[in-house]
Assembly symmetry: C2
Homo-oligomer: 706 residues x 2
Amino acid sequence: MSIESLRPALAPKSVAVIGASENPNKIGGRPVAYLARFGFGGKVYPINPRREEVQGFRTFPDLASLPEVPETTIVALPGDGAVSAVEECARRGVKVAVVMSSGFGETASEEGRAKERLMVEVARAHGMRLFGPNAQGLANFGTGAILSFSTMFIEEEPADGPVAMCSQSGAMSVVPYGLLRRRGIGVRHAHATGNDADVTVAELACAVAADPEVKLLLLYLESIPDPHHLAEAARIARERELPIVALKSGRTAAGQRAAQSHTGALATEDRVVDAFFAHHGIWRVNDVAGLVSAAELYLKGWRPEGRRLAVVSNSGATCVMAADAATSADLSLAPLSAATREALDRVLPSFATTTNPVDITAALLSNSRLFGEILPILARDAAVDALMVGLPVAGAGYDVDAFAEDAATFARKTGKPVVIAAPQPHVGARFKAVGLAVFELEAEAIAALGQFISHSELIERVRKASPPVAAAPTAEPTRGRVLNEAESLALIAARAIAVVPHRLCRSEAEARAAFSTLGPSVAVKGCSADVVHKSELGLVRLGLTDEGAVAAAWCCMEGILEARKARFDGVIVAAMAKGRHELMIGAHRDPVFGPVVVVGEGGKYVEALPDLKALLPPFGAEEVRRALAGLRMAPLFEGLRGEPPMDVPALAEAAVAVGRMMAEASPRILSLDLNPVLLGSAGEGYAVVDAVALVAEEEVTPRAAP
Amino acid sequence: MSIESLRPALAPKSVAVIGASENPNKIGGRPVAYLARFGFGGKVYPINPRREEVQGFRTFPDLASLPEVPETTIVALPGDGAVSAVEECARRGVKVAVVMSSGFGETASEEGRAKERLMVEVARAHGMRLFGPNAQGLANFGTGAILSFSTMFIEEEPADGPVAMCSQSGAMSVVPYGLLRRRGIGVRHAHATGNDADVTVAELACAVAADPEVKLLLLYLESIPDPHHLAEAARIARERELPIVALKSGRTAAGQRAAQSHTGALATEDRVVDAFFAHHGIWRVNDVAGLVSAAELYLKGWRPEGRRLAVVSNSGATCVMAADAATSADLSLAPLSAATREALDRVLPSFATTTNPVDITAALLSNSRLFGEILPILARDAAVDALMVGLPVAGAGYDVDAFAEDAATFARKTGKPVVIAAPQPHVGARFKAVGLAVFELEAEAIAALGQFISHSELIERVRKASPPVAAAPTAEPTRGRVLNEAESLALIAARAIAVVPHRLCRSEAEARAAFSTLGPSVAVKGCSADVVHKSELGLVRLGLTDEGAVAAAWCCMEGILEARKARFDGVIVAAMAKGRHELMIGAHRDPVFGPVVVVGEGGKYVEALPDLKALLPPFGAEEVRRALAGLRMAPLFEGLRGEPPMDVPALAEAAVAVGRMMAEASPRILSLDLNPVLLGSAGEGYAVVDAVALVAEEEVTPRAAP
């Protein structure tokens, strides 16, 4: 339904340009020129009451004068003219309006924002979809529907091809386009949606992902107000085996501040954004170079089977740097079989290296057949999952065409990914000419290969997990009630999460009794829903070993809380928990992404020295284990210096249970903080030692997880 | 002296090519062609007994037939021919031989290695300097002395200029050359020294650093067998304000293995390599792109005064990504003054942003004077230390020449660093034409700027510290004696390093007496020079609070050590040390770099979860504090969640004392491990709780620190 409503944006039968200009360098002139130039097959109606003709097209004074109601309009009038035009389009039954005019929601002006809301309301009232305002516009080189004023399509000649780019930003809809075009890669879609007041970039991405000609979908996002649309785009893409690579900027505090002044977007912790992308199989990159660096590899149709790389070069330095780069990309060097090494030995000069990386040395200058003899040997070795050929210097004296043909033969015969590093443009061009993916330097080639392989593995994992499609978000409660520690522990204990043995004691006598049950060594903690950081106030006493001390702690804590006018809910007497290391499991509701579970190292310094991973429910134990394996502290789980491994499976189950709790309707948990969770050795489990829950005051409609 | 001996390599009066070839694509043909082509002013003597003439030069049958003894020879004969040629050169008084022949020390063959040693011996016996063998050779475009067979000088037309490249690898001597030449930057030196059997790349770097025309020195290294030469090159460079940027490959385990099969180099922990470069003001990069990415910035003569960046772009997305990139490069965004913001407000359209980054929006398309009006306003703001202009899209409709002139005016008038990000080649070209440094993307521009500013600050710090010049290394003792814990603690306590109050007890009675002095709570540890990891064997008991328990521990530990047939040196009874966090100070002698001190987080998991920084003695407390500030755990030092700061100054003094100990002649400390060092709050100091020292068995000649 949503996708169908966007069809007239990507493949309109007719387009009217409201505010059409004779000058092709003006906003209202560019789309007219582009529609004429790039093979648009539908009708074009320039609207301009002051001219008979615009750029060779007959003009019309207004929408009413057109021979038909156009499916799609471009609105290129400034200010109130844009608002009136949108109203008229909606009333007359236009299906899609692309509003290029600026000065609305992207400004600090309340008046501009109100006008933007008005445009959206009138569009929705009449079933018209609206792009923008402040949209550079849409460009589909498959249909010739270039409803865009970007300068870039004059600068870099378009060619229809397998890549699509969807962006909020105008510049970022075309910078990757330019980088790809200069590499000779065809780009079908280059869309900039602007303020996303009605149609968002994520909703458009759903329609683009459904285009069967698209083989790689790139996204630039400054905010993700509608993760459910992006999740849907990812689902459509997964079904089509279409990879999505996304650049979400504002990954630092400074970047988020800049994005907020620009888009007014809500801030989300960056690790939640990471988790969202991973959850849906979208590969996140940090910058523009990363967005396009591996593009060619996605277009080869490879299905990588592993992470073991073979490297061949005529330079030892390239071999060393390739080994460094492989480690950085989390690839390993394929261990060559004895048969492979013997075969290499027969071919290579005695001073060359027959281990991987294979350094064939400058001997290549005198024997151009070396590549052709070595590559088939490597092709036969099952340990080789991918190949990098590095040719840092070639030219006069080298038979580069033969090398290129040899590498292409390897690629064709094995179907394994092959990347070439050749810094000299004319050398690289000859490898490109036989269809190979060429990079300037080994580090770039291997980083791109690593991304491609890791992303392929991620997509495969997500396909198996097939995360449920999210509903659109509903309102979330914002007011909540803090449960005290005893209530919080009871809440999780009821969901089979292991908590430390404890009693909430309302009197000194109960505390003494609890000691005799839970001793010989106990912790005593003041219990109050009004106090978050207990230890700073002297409300935590550990390792008490006699009843008198417990009784004294009871009195003392009652006094501390009374003095602070904080509620006194009693004291908790707890067994001194055993465990090897302090972990934490947290959960909260992100205003944009909904429920988020965070796992990682626990203790006092979680905020200052975070070693955490976020997960979006629903998730299984396997996903928790993978997240835990990505922590800095991960080596500890295996057991170091003779220690046994820790009980990671039990911890993972606890995190899964927390994920499930976040989906429960009652109580509606707004946040949950289990810290520390003392983790024991394998088989010993864990114990939650402290917990704070914040639950919604009113019951609210359950919301599906994204 | 050393530099003078290399003058004939860089500026020879005459060159003989032994094994000269008519074919300019052969190893013996290329140098002849290059000497003819690139303006060498000295004499060229091709030696080839089978030809009258080679490439238009008259040939000579042998060295003896030449009209003079050539200053420099190129040896391009294979195998034993090369060895004989070197012998004859040395005997006849040649000053420098560049041996291109391969099959010597770079192979696994003992015969080849022996021949290489022979060449070096005969050269040294006659005072001849030898490059190679296996050297691609030297190229100095300042003198036209191209004693190299690299293909690259055919591929990319040379131009003398301010950059020098010294490399062991042939490929890596010219790959950066090619990247720089394609950017229009002149390269004077492109040297590849091969096996470094006599002259090393670091020694050559000393001579190149002394060339007054060189403004940027780039190095590629796979091993650093002679850090004293590299330190000397760095000293020469600092005196000339010449920055050095180095790529040392083999930074990962896989890379080190590849380098070892290639160069046979000794492995050094990568953090020690980092520390060495930092100590001498050399900027270390991770890959080839990093070697050249900031090259242009070093050539502008800027003296950066701070790290506060202003960003101006016509794209909000560029602004956001620039803010992210600034954070990654450890730059901050300049906070603009109220006056600046008011002035911007008067110039910019209402929907543009007047905070930094300054987003001038697509309004630039209709008003090309915006840059020209904004940049002088930013130029007047003292908070701006550097400027990035991002122009992701321009072209038809934009007055790019005006933008370029405006940016150049800013650069000229302020003297502040300016970088341009312009992905369209023809747009970038117009900024280059007015002398500006242009990058494709904002992330690259800002990363390069960050490197340039950080490196400038590093050089300034090192100039102030002026590390002493190292002597050549002398033999280090390899056999040592482990001191037991008590001896180790005594060793450091004698150097005013604070150790935990303790007694070494030889009898149960002594242990009981120690408890009464050191209690009420003590640690008891078995003391034996034969045991390194005590806790695994049950030789550590903490928090004993009665005399009987101490006596029992004494007996038990004696039994444990006897059972293991380990020496029993008594037990240590120590006060339970207080302190906020476990740190460590370690020291060892790297076989290449000499004494190294390591500081960082202590405890049991130092190896598995390292959070450490290396320092090369001598160093001061300020350098230790800077190293500590770079640790992951650094936020803890400030005091978190209401805690007071920790006593970092005291810890720094302890590290300085350890650095001094490593320079002492007696005892000669081979390694020292202080872990844990319990650090207290400011003013409370620290206490070393455990220590192990390894000292040389024989006294050896003291070695100067590098």
